[in-house]
Protein backbone atom coordinates (compact mmCIF):
# COMPACT_ATOMS: atom_id res chain seq x y z
CA UNK A 1 0.00 0.00 0.00
CA UNK A 2 1.42 3.35 -0.99
CA UNK A 3 1.92 6.10 1.57
CA UNK A 4 -0.53 8.44 -0.14
CA UNK A 5 -3.20 5.75 0.29
CA UNK A 6 -2.47 5.51 4.01
CA UNK A 7 -2.87 9.23 4.70
CA UNK A 8 -6.68 9.36 4.22
CA UNK A 9 -6.99 6.19 6.30
CA UNK A 10 -4.99 7.77 9.14
CA UNK A 11 -7.17 10.84 8.89
CA UNK A 12 -10.31 8.73 9.24
CA UNK A 13 -8.87 6.87 12.23
CA UNK A 14 -7.91 10.06 14.06
CA UNK A 15 -11.28 11.60 13.25
CA UNK A 16 -13.02 8.60 14.80
CA UNK A 17 -10.77 8.79 17.87
CA UNK A 18 -11.39 12.50 18.27
CA UNK A 19 -15.15 12.26 18.04
CA UNK A 20 -16.91 14.18 20.80
CA UNK A 21 -18.24 12.09 23.64
CA UNK A 22 -21.49 12.70 25.45
CA UNK A 23 -21.08 12.73 29.21
CA UNK A 24 -24.14 12.03 31.32
CA UNK A 25 -24.16 13.94 34.62
CA UNK A 26 -26.78 11.86 36.38
CA UNK A 27 -24.54 10.73 39.19
CA UNK A 28 -25.06 7.22 40.64
CA UNK A 29 -22.68 8.03 43.49
CA UNK A 30 -24.64 11.13 44.51
CA UNK A 31 -21.61 13.36 45.05
CA UNK A 32 -22.35 15.96 42.36
CA UNK A 33 -23.30 19.21 44.00
CA UNK A 34 -23.73 22.93 43.74
CA UNK A 35 -22.90 24.94 46.84
CA UNK A 36 -24.49 28.35 47.28
CA UNK A 37 -23.72 31.10 49.74
CA UNK A 38 -25.52 34.34 50.51
CA UNK A 39 -24.19 36.80 53.05
CA UNK A 40 -26.58 37.71 55.85
CA UNK A 41 -26.10 39.77 59.04
CA UNK A 42 -26.10 37.05 61.71
CA UNK A 43 -24.69 34.20 59.65
CA UNK A 44 -24.09 33.52 55.95
CA UNK A 45 -26.72 31.28 54.40
CA UNK A 46 -24.89 28.20 53.18
CA UNK A 47 -26.58 25.40 51.32
CA UNK A 48 -26.27 22.96 48.51
CA UNK A 49 -28.20 21.20 45.78
CA UNK A 50 -27.57 17.62 44.79
CA UNK A 51 -30.19 16.57 42.24
CA UNK A 52 -28.16 17.35 39.14
CA UNK A 53 -28.66 15.99 35.65
CA UNK A 54 -27.69 16.97 32.13
CA UNK A 55 -25.34 16.08 29.33
CA UNK A 56 -22.15 17.64 28.02
CA UNK A 57 -20.53 16.99 24.66
CA UNK A 58 -16.76 16.99 25.14
CA UNK A 59 -14.02 16.15 22.70
CA UNK A 60 -10.66 15.48 24.41
CA UNK A 61 -8.93 16.46 21.17
CA UNK A 62 -10.89 19.69 20.92
CA UNK A 63 -12.09 20.91 24.34
CA UNK A 64 -12.97 24.30 22.86
CA UNK A 65 -15.96 22.69 21.13
CA UNK A 66 -17.56 21.69 24.44
CA UNK A 67 -21.28 22.34 24.74
CA UNK A 68 -23.97 21.02 27.02
CA UNK A 69 -26.69 21.63 29.54
CA UNK A 70 -26.70 21.11 33.29
CA UNK A 71 -29.99 20.96 35.16
CA UNK A 72 -30.43 21.36 38.92
CA UNK A 73 -33.73 20.38 40.51
CA UNK A 74 -34.79 23.44 42.56
CA UNK A 75 -36.47 21.17 45.11
CA UNK A 76 -33.06 19.73 46.02
CA UNK A 77 -31.75 23.05 47.36
CA UNK A 78 -31.10 22.49 51.04
CA UNK A 79 -30.05 24.65 53.96
CA UNK A 80 -29.61 23.35 57.53
CA UNK A 81 -32.26 25.68 59.01
CA UNK A 82 -35.78 24.38 58.29
CA UNK A 83 -37.41 27.82 58.31
CA UNK A 84 -34.85 29.21 55.89
CA UNK A 85 -35.41 26.21 53.63
CA UNK A 86 -39.16 26.78 53.69
CA UNK A 87 -38.67 30.44 52.75
CA UNK A 88 -36.10 29.55 50.07
CA UNK A 89 -38.49 27.11 48.40
CA UNK A 90 -41.53 29.33 48.87
CA UNK A 91 -43.37 31.51 46.39
CA UNK A 92 -41.61 34.69 47.57
CA UNK A 93 -38.13 33.40 46.81
CA UNK A 94 -37.37 30.53 44.40
CA UNK A 95 -40.94 29.28 44.03
CA UNK A 96 -39.75 25.73 43.34
CA UNK A 97 -43.28 24.52 42.62
CA UNK A 98 -43.56 26.93 39.69
CA UNK A 99 -39.90 26.86 38.61
CA UNK A 100 -38.69 23.31 39.25
CA UNK A 101 -35.40 23.63 37.37
CA UNK A 102 -32.31 25.81 37.39
CA UNK A 103 -30.34 25.34 34.17
CA UNK A 104 -27.17 26.40 32.46
CA UNK A 105 -26.85 25.70 28.73
CA UNK A 106 -23.29 26.30 27.55
CA UNK A 107 -23.06 27.50 23.96
CA UNK A 108 -19.39 28.30 23.53
CA UNK A 109 -16.02 28.33 25.23
CA UNK A 110 -13.42 31.08 25.10
CA UNK A 111 -9.91 31.57 26.52
CA UNK A 112 -9.40 27.81 26.33
CA UNK A 113 -6.19 26.53 27.87
CA UNK A 114 -5.42 22.82 28.02
CA UNK A 115 -2.59 21.32 30.01
CA UNK A 116 -2.59 17.54 30.07
CA UNK A 117 -6.06 16.39 31.04
CA UNK A 118 -7.12 19.74 32.51
CA UNK A 119 -8.78 22.48 30.50
CA UNK A 120 -9.67 25.90 31.81
CA UNK A 121 -11.95 28.18 29.86
CA UNK A 122 -14.72 30.73 30.03
CA UNK A 123 -18.07 29.22 29.18
CA UNK A 124 -20.80 31.42 27.79
CA UNK A 125 -24.34 30.23 27.93
CA UNK A 126 -27.87 30.76 29.12
CA UNK A 127 -28.50 30.59 32.84
CA UNK A 128 -32.13 30.14 33.79
CA UNK A 129 -33.31 30.71 37.34
CA UNK A 130 -36.74 31.56 38.71
CA UNK A 131 -38.10 31.55 35.16
CA UNK A 132 -35.67 34.23 33.97
CA UNK A 133 -33.01 33.43 31.37
CA UNK A 134 -29.85 35.47 31.13
CA UNK A 135 -26.67 35.02 29.15
CA UNK A 136 -23.65 34.77 31.44
CA UNK A 137 -19.98 33.86 31.15
CA UNK A 138 -18.43 31.71 33.84
CA UNK A 139 -14.90 30.41 34.40
CA UNK A 140 -14.82 26.62 34.28
CA UNK A 141 -12.32 23.86 34.78
CA UNK A 142 -12.74 20.58 32.92
CA UNK A 143 -10.79 17.50 33.97
CA UNK A 144 -10.91 14.60 31.56
CA UNK A 145 -10.29 11.25 33.26
CA UNK A 146 -9.83 8.68 30.49
CA UNK A 147 -10.85 5.09 31.35
CA UNK A 148 -11.63 6.03 34.96
CA UNK A 149 -15.33 5.14 34.97
CA UNK A 150 -14.64 1.55 36.09
CA UNK A 151 -12.78 2.89 39.15
CA UNK A 152 -15.99 4.64 40.16
CA UNK A 153 -18.68 2.31 38.90
CA UNK A 154 -17.54 -1.32 38.72
CA UNK A 155 -18.51 -3.26 35.58
CA UNK A 156 -18.72 -0.09 33.50
CA UNK A 157 -15.96 1.01 31.19
CA UNK A 158 -15.59 4.53 29.92
CA UNK A 159 -14.36 8.02 30.69
CA UNK A 160 -15.18 10.64 33.28
CA UNK A 161 -15.40 14.38 32.92
CA UNK A 162 -15.21 16.55 36.03
CA UNK A 163 -16.50 20.11 35.76
CA UNK A 164 -15.82 22.75 38.37
CA UNK A 165 -17.01 26.33 38.27
CA UNK A 166 -17.12 29.18 40.77
CA UNK A 167 -19.13 32.25 39.90
CA UNK A 168 -21.43 34.90 41.29
CA UNK A 169 -24.93 35.80 40.21
CA UNK A 170 -27.21 38.57 41.37
CA UNK A 171 -30.63 37.41 42.56
CA UNK A 172 -32.16 40.69 41.39
CA UNK A 173 -31.22 39.82 37.79
CA UNK A 174 -33.56 36.85 38.13
CA UNK A 175 -36.43 38.70 39.79
CA UNK A 176 -35.87 37.12 43.18
CA UNK A 177 -37.09 39.66 45.73
CA UNK A 178 -35.79 42.49 43.57
CA UNK A 179 -34.86 45.46 45.77
CA UNK A 180 -36.16 43.66 48.85
CA UNK A 181 -34.45 42.46 52.02
CA UNK A 182 -31.03 43.67 50.85
CA UNK A 183 -30.13 44.42 54.48
CA UNK A 184 -31.04 40.86 55.48
CA UNK A 185 -29.93 38.77 52.51
CA UNK A 186 -27.17 39.76 50.12
CA UNK A 187 -28.30 40.33 46.52
CA UNK A 188 -25.28 38.38 45.29
CA UNK A 189 -25.12 34.60 45.43
CA UNK A 190 -21.81 32.73 45.34
CA UNK A 191 -22.14 29.48 43.42
CA UNK A 192 -19.66 26.64 43.37
CA UNK A 193 -20.32 23.73 41.03
CA UNK A 194 -18.54 20.36 41.34
CA UNK A 195 -19.89 17.64 39.08
CA UNK A 196 -18.69 14.51 37.34
CA UNK A 197 -20.21 12.96 34.24
CA UNK A 198 -19.65 9.59 32.63
CA UNK A 199 -19.33 8.50 29.02
CA UNK A 200 -19.79 4.75 28.79
CA UNK A 201 -17.51 3.06 26.26
CA UNK A 202 -19.39 1.49 23.36
Amino acid sequence: MKLNHLIPLLGLTSAAYAAPQTFDFKDPKGVNNVVFKLDAPLEAINGSASAITGTVSFDPANPAATTGKIVVASESLTVPNPMQKEHLHGANWLDVAKYPEITFAAKSLAKVNTEGSVTTAEATGTFTLHGVSKEITVPIKLTYLADKLSARVPNLKGDLLVIRANFIINREDFNIQKGQYEDKVSPTIDLSLSIAGAAIAK
Binding site: V31, N32, N33, N81, L145, K148
Partner: protein, 89 residues
Protein backbone atom coordinates in the same frame (compact mmCIF):
# COMPACT_ATOMS: atom_id res chain seq x y z
CA UNK B 1 -47.39 29.35 93.05
CA UNK B 2 -44.98 32.30 92.95
CA UNK B 3 -42.09 30.11 94.04
CA UNK B 4 -43.10 27.37 91.59
CA UNK B 5 -43.09 29.77 88.61
CA UNK B 6 -39.76 31.28 89.64
CA UNK B 7 -38.21 27.82 89.98
CA UNK B 8 -39.62 26.80 86.61
CA UNK B 9 -38.21 29.98 85.01
CA UNK B 10 -34.79 29.27 86.45
CA UNK B 11 -34.96 25.65 85.31
CA UNK B 12 -35.93 26.64 81.73
CA UNK B 13 -33.16 29.27 81.55
CA UNK B 14 -30.53 26.90 82.91
CA UNK B 15 -31.63 24.03 80.64
CA UNK B 16 -31.57 26.30 77.57
CA UNK B 17 -28.16 27.77 78.38
CA UNK B 18 -26.71 24.34 79.17
CA UNK B 19 -28.08 22.82 75.94
CA UNK B 20 -26.78 25.74 73.88
CA UNK B 21 -23.31 25.59 75.47
CA UNK B 22 -23.10 21.79 75.34
CA UNK B 23 -23.85 21.72 71.62
CA UNK B 24 -21.07 24.14 70.78
CA UNK B 25 -22.53 27.60 71.53
CA UNK B 26 -23.65 28.10 67.92
CA UNK B 27 -23.90 31.85 67.38
CA UNK B 28 -25.85 31.39 64.14
CA UNK B 29 -29.41 30.22 63.49
CA UNK B 30 -30.75 26.92 64.84
CA UNK B 31 -30.06 23.99 62.54
CA UNK B 32 -31.81 20.65 62.37
CA UNK B 33 -29.21 19.05 60.12
CA UNK B 34 -25.52 19.40 59.51
CA UNK B 35 -23.60 19.05 56.27
CA UNK B 36 -21.20 16.12 56.10
CA UNK B 37 -18.58 16.09 53.36
CA UNK B 38 -17.26 12.91 51.80
CA UNK B 39 -14.43 12.85 49.29
CA UNK B 40 -14.85 10.91 46.06
CA UNK B 41 -11.34 9.51 45.49
CA UNK B 42 -11.67 9.15 41.73
CA UNK B 43 -13.02 12.59 40.84
CA UNK B 44 -11.78 14.55 43.86
CA UNK B 45 -15.28 15.95 44.39
CA UNK B 46 -16.44 16.53 47.95
CA UNK B 47 -19.97 15.17 48.13
CA UNK B 48 -22.33 16.78 50.63
CA UNK B 49 -24.91 14.87 52.61
CA UNK B 50 -27.00 16.13 55.51
CA UNK B 51 -27.27 14.31 58.80
CA UNK B 52 -30.10 15.05 61.19
CA UNK B 53 -28.71 16.86 64.19
CA UNK B 54 -30.24 19.52 66.40
CA UNK B 55 -27.86 22.43 66.77
CA UNK B 56 -29.53 25.23 68.77
CA UNK B 57 -28.63 28.75 67.72
CA UNK B 58 -29.12 32.19 69.18
CA UNK B 59 -32.81 32.15 68.15
CA UNK B 60 -33.34 29.05 70.32
CA UNK B 61 -31.45 30.66 73.19
CA UNK B 62 -33.41 33.90 72.82
CA UNK B 63 -36.79 32.15 72.64
CA UNK B 64 -36.17 29.94 75.67
CA UNK B 65 -34.70 32.76 77.76
CA UNK B 66 -37.72 34.84 76.71
CA UNK B 67 -40.04 32.06 77.87
CA UNK B 68 -38.13 31.93 81.18
CA UNK B 69 -38.55 35.70 81.55
CA UNK B 70 -42.31 35.38 80.92
CA UNK B 71 -42.56 32.73 83.63
CA UNK B 72 -40.57 34.88 86.03
CA UNK B 73 -42.72 37.89 85.14
CA UNK B 74 -45.91 35.91 85.66
CA UNK B 75 -44.73 34.99 89.13
CA UNK B 76 -44.97 38.68 90.10
CA UNK B 77 -48.77 38.43 89.84
CA UNK B 78 -48.84 36.03 92.73
CA UNK B 79 -48.37 36.90 96.38
CA UNK B 80 -45.92 35.26 98.67
CA UNK B 81 -47.68 32.53 100.55
CA UNK B 82 -46.08 32.87 103.95
CA UNK B 83 -47.68 30.98 106.75
CA UNK B 84 -48.60 33.31 109.57
CA UNK B 85 -47.72 32.05 113.02
CA UNK B 86 -50.84 31.13 114.88
CA UNK B 87 -51.21 33.22 118.01
CA UNK B 88 -50.84 31.31 121.22
CA UNK B 89 -53.91 31.27 123.41
Amino acid sequence: MKRLLQSLALLVALAAATTWLATGANRGWTKTSVAVKTLDDVTGIEGITYQKKFLPGVDFLGATLGAAAVLAGASLFFRNTTTKPTPKP
